[in-house]
């Protein structure tokens, strides 16, 4: 894991969230186990468990006794909502800061975004 990218348990949780958001981990499917996560990311199982428990606390995953963790119904919608709300802060703010540094106006920025969207 990337140590400079914040607490490792948070990174584990983020990766699972991303998988749920992009659909590779559908709702009601089984999430990777603590040991699988530990082995794959080469991290302490306690750290992996902490990441999973965070998701349980957030209502993204739920426990099935003796079976494992599963993605809750509505988890994707919930995550999308949260990520959208964080989008401005996480992506627009640094974009604006850099644009400001380079003397790019908001209007120019908007044009760039339109052009990029067209090209896609």
């Amino acid at each position: 894991m990337n140590e400079a990218a914040g607490p490792i348990f948070r990174q584990v949780a983020d990766l699972i969230e991303t998988a749920i958001v992009d659909g590779s981990l559908p709702e009601e499917s089984q999430a990777p186990s603590t040991n699988e996560l530990a082995a794959f990311h080469r991290i302490n199982p306690a750290t992996a468990a902490k990441g999973l428990n965070q998701l349980v606390a957030d209502g993204v995953l739920y426990k099935r006794r003796g079976v494992g963790m599963f993605v809750a119904t509505g988890a994707r919608e919930q995550l999308l909502r949260r990520r959208r709300s964080e989008f401005a802060d996480q992506y627009v703010r640094p974009l604006m800061t850099e644009a400001h540094k380079l003397g790019i106006s908001s209007a120019e920025l908007a044009t760039m975004i339109d052009r990029w969207a067209d090209a896609r």
Partner: protein, 301 residues
């Protein structure tokens, strides 16, 4: 959480030299603790106390609720893999492994076999004929296959190449996940193992500098970078572990209280990142050294 081992106000002196000075710490059950520190910091002495190989000058050492000194009931639950373990001249790899299998109640013979294969250790080979790294690998095989409730690795990787070290970390993690136990990993290859650790115990010149949850620890220090004035301003009311400047640009490792500080740094126009363990340990060792007399001392082995 249950304490597996407790050190309370432990001091260890050798002829006027203090190897450990009033050390107190607790090893919790089923955790992997990184015992970090420079050479001669007191890591080996601490492990020798936990295994009853030494008796503290003062203070109390308890493992599984009893003093480990000469207590076979306690010792049979501890496996101590130390750097440069000596084996009898005539011993072959298989002899050492069999001897270990007689003495550790939780020994897993299948795991031992698999590890011997993984590390390419032929049972028939005389240990005295092994390379340094393969010699270390014998200790690693014994340490892992012992499944001892308290397993101590004291720089177990001497002479092992990066591939073999990674193999060790992977096998440790995999077996630990299946069979949780209390593991202490004494090392100065911090970067390689930082993700494996749940706890960090940093000693420097016989004193405990850090004794914390590894993940929480990373969040306790920010590496901030940006315009020099802003970096200096940010560090004014905080503990600055190190500062480096190049022209008008500066970077500092600063101890912080929480996310509030990260927000403050960002608001001040600085880039802020959690500090990797290795860097934090280096800076802390440097900072404590600068505070005290800068003398390098050797610990007798």
């Amino acid at each position: 959480m249950t304490a597996v081992a407790t050190l309370q106000d432990v001091t260890m002196r050798f002829r006027g030299h203090t190897a450990l000075d009033e050390v107190s710490t607790v090893l919790e059950q089923d955790t992997i603790t990184g015992l970090l520190g420079r050479n001669g910091a007191g890591k080996t002495t601490l492990l020798q106390l936990l295994t009853g190989h030494r008796v503290p000058t003062s203070g109390r050492v308890e493992v599984f609720g009893r003093s480990p000194f000469e207590d076979d009931g306690v010792l049979s639950r501890i496996c101590f893999v130390k750097e440069g373990q000596r084996y009898p001249d005539a011993f072959r790899v298989g002899d050492a492994v069999s001897a270990a299998s007689w003495l550790f109640p939780n020994w897993d013979a299948d795991l031992a076999d698999r590890l011997l294969t993984d590390f390419e250790l032929p049972r028939k080979r005389a240990i005295s004929k092994l390379s340094r790294g393969m010699n270390s690998a014998v200790g690693i095989v014994i340490g892992l296959a012992s499944r001892a409730p308290l397993t101590l690795f004291d720089e177990p990787y001497l002479g092992l190449d990066a591939v073999a070290r990674q193999l060790f970390y992977d096998r440790l993690l995999a077996d630990y996940a299946e069979h949780p136990r209390t593991v202490v990993l004494s090392t100065h290859l911090i970067e390689e193992i930082s993700d494996l650790l749940e706890r960090v115990l940093l000693v420097d010149r016989g004193r405990v500098v850090l004794d914390e949850d590894a993940d929480a620890l990373r969040a306790t220090a920010l590496t901030v970078a940006g315009p020099r004035a802003a970096v200096e301003e940010f560090g004014r009311n905080r503990e600055v572990l190190s500062t480096e400047a190049l022209g008008g640009h500066a970077r500092a490792v600063v101890r912080v209280a929480g996310p509030v500080d990260e927000a403050a740094a960002t608001a001040a126009g600085l880039s802020a990142e959690p500090t990797p363990l290795q860097r934090l340990v280096v800076e802390l060792a440097r900072a404590t050294r600068a505070a005290g007399p800068a003398v390098l001392e050797e610990v007798p082995r």
